[in-house]
């Protein structure tokens, strides 16, 4: 837990330049679906970074944040949430079984929804590591925001020359 605390601190220390919130899209009803429109705040960010390694400075510059990649991530998330909330035979069986056992089974078993949420958490972590962290972004799992928004934290870029 001390580990977590220090990492949180470090997260704060890497200064947050802005936060962009991707809101929910309710045009299909109450299903969890996020807007796939690429937010304008992310469009014009030029990333120019440098890092030190063994007293040598490497400098490079990244292109603008890839719009297609971002939209793909949001679309995959939407699909995963749709899978979680799908009314299929599996959910019906689960529901009926739970009803017959007076819902005691929920104390022992993990629901389908929870399993998919774990999948989503893993997916977001992967995406953050592979794509967004190198671009100075961090996607927050929507479950931590009550499934209201996808919070994209934009860390401040610093360009450094030797």
């Amino acid at each position: 837990m001390a580990e977590t605390h220090s990492l949180q601190d470090m997260r704060q220390q890497a200064s947050v330049a802005a936060k962009v919130f991707i809101q929910r899209d309710y045009t299909n009803g109450t299903v969890c679906h996020f807007q796939t429109k690429f937010p304008s705040e992310l469009e014009s960010r030029q990333q120019s970074m440098a890092f030190w390694s063994n007293s040598t400075c490497f400098q490079f510059s990244r292109e603008k944040i890839n719009k297609q990649q971002f939209e793909e991530t949001v679309r995959t998330l939407n699909n995963l949430y749709a899978e979680a909330e799908k009314l299929g035979s599996q959910s019906y069986i689960e529901g009926c079984l739970a009803c017959l056992t007076a819902y005691i089974i929920f104390l022992c078993m993990e629901t389908h929804y929870e399993k998919v949420l774990k999948k989503i958490a893993k997916y977001i972590q992967e995406q953050n590591e592979k794509i967004y962290a190198p671009q100075g972004l961090l996607l927050t799992d929507p479950i931590e925001r009550g499934l209201r928004v996808i919070e994209v934290t934009i860390f401040e870029e610093r360009s450094l020359t030797r």
Partner: protein
Amino acid sequence: MHLGVSESMRECEYNQISTRSSTPMETPYKNRTPKKRKWESFPGRNKFYCNGRIMMAKQTGVFYLTLALILVTCGLFFTFDCPFLALQLTPVIPVIGGVLFLFVLGTLLRTSFSDPGVLPRANADEAADLERQIDVANGSTGYRPPPRTKEVVINGQTVKLKYCFTCKIFRPPRASHCSLCDNCVERFDHHCPWVGNCVGRRNYRFFYMFILSLSFLTIFIFSFVITHIILRSHRFGFLSALKDSPASVLEVVVCFFSVWSIVGLSGFHTYLISSNQTTNEDIKGSWSSKRGKDNYNPYSYGNIFTNCCAALCGPLPPSLIDRRGFVRSDAPQLAPPTNGITTYGATQSQQGHMCDQDHCIQGTKFVLQAAATPLLQQHSSEPVILTTCPENGGSMPGRGPLTLGGPCASLPLGQPTPPTSIPSLGCHEAADMLPIHGHGHSHNHSHPLQEPVAHHHFLTPEEVPSPPGMLPCGSPMGHNHAMQAGFYNPASQDSLHEDSVRGLVKLSFV
């Protein structure tokens, strides 16, 4: 937990550059503040038991009455009627009675103790972002902003999403703010004082099963008690039968009054489920054809069977509020923590199990730190999103769009009935709709009615953004930042570089 902390302290002392340790400045501070669970600083008006596992509304008196009625009636039935019936008729009767009783109790407790689908309030950043968007849309800078609504077209129907001034969010469709619990609840049905909780998306099926099984149980007990009395009177005469088992009389009375309201309520909710409506929507007539020819329910799946399956056997969403997670005393904020707003935001922060994300954060952090000049202070950049003063939205008591406490349009007690000021005795609007109203029940309401109304009037001015419970978080926040100011110094540059290399290596491994 304590062991872990002391270990890291030791780590800190010799090995500051270890990627897994906390700084020496922080750990002693951390030892001082005990870890709080999120339920302890929950902003709504709920009661929590068993360290956050159980969640109920504030007024639970009527729930204990429900429990007592069920336990006493069933207890009397099993003690006085069942022995006779088991001998005279069949022992299956107590068995079925027992099964029904356990099912009723199980579903009642599930309904009362679970999270109905409370939407967590927006943290400071989100609220500020929304405010900014609304201001841009409105273009107005009035003192009192007009009620904020957003229109969405759902399956061809235009639905208005209202902005909740308390929770600082646009309520999703079918969500409503319960004035008794002071929470926005998803797919809000009504606030039921009999179960001592709101009925919403997550516990509607338990509520329905409860009233359904309770109807069966009531009818079961009623019919078998009558059977018992009849059989006894055949043998011993009517008056003698009543004298022999006086408990039966009490049971008959209770069951007689319960049957009408409970069975009526079950019927009403069966209708609601088959048409995929909530009590709230039905009472307001949101999807009634009287409103217009083209008015239809956009959430209905078209046929009764699918609607029923969806409501009762659909996937059960998990709780969004993470009651048992630990409060993180720091959360990445855009502005320095100088005012109460940040406090509010801090307690709305992320869940306890952040370990996976922290690896990411660590990776990002190291990459960025490597790029950054360690000498510079953190807060040099201008935050893009400013945290605005939430008092704008929060300080207006008794405002219309806010408190849709529940569907209590009709209440038989002669009080003026704006939905905001009467606690929703939702279970009884249904009873009102029947020609026979459970008289016994209205008496029960007069007592709890007074309290909640008084509460409401007392509490509406309380829509202030930072409840006192959250204030302790403000100081650690400020403290943290002050400490960070001292953390970076030129002397640690080399260690930081080592860290960064290590961090990059770690990033590639994770």
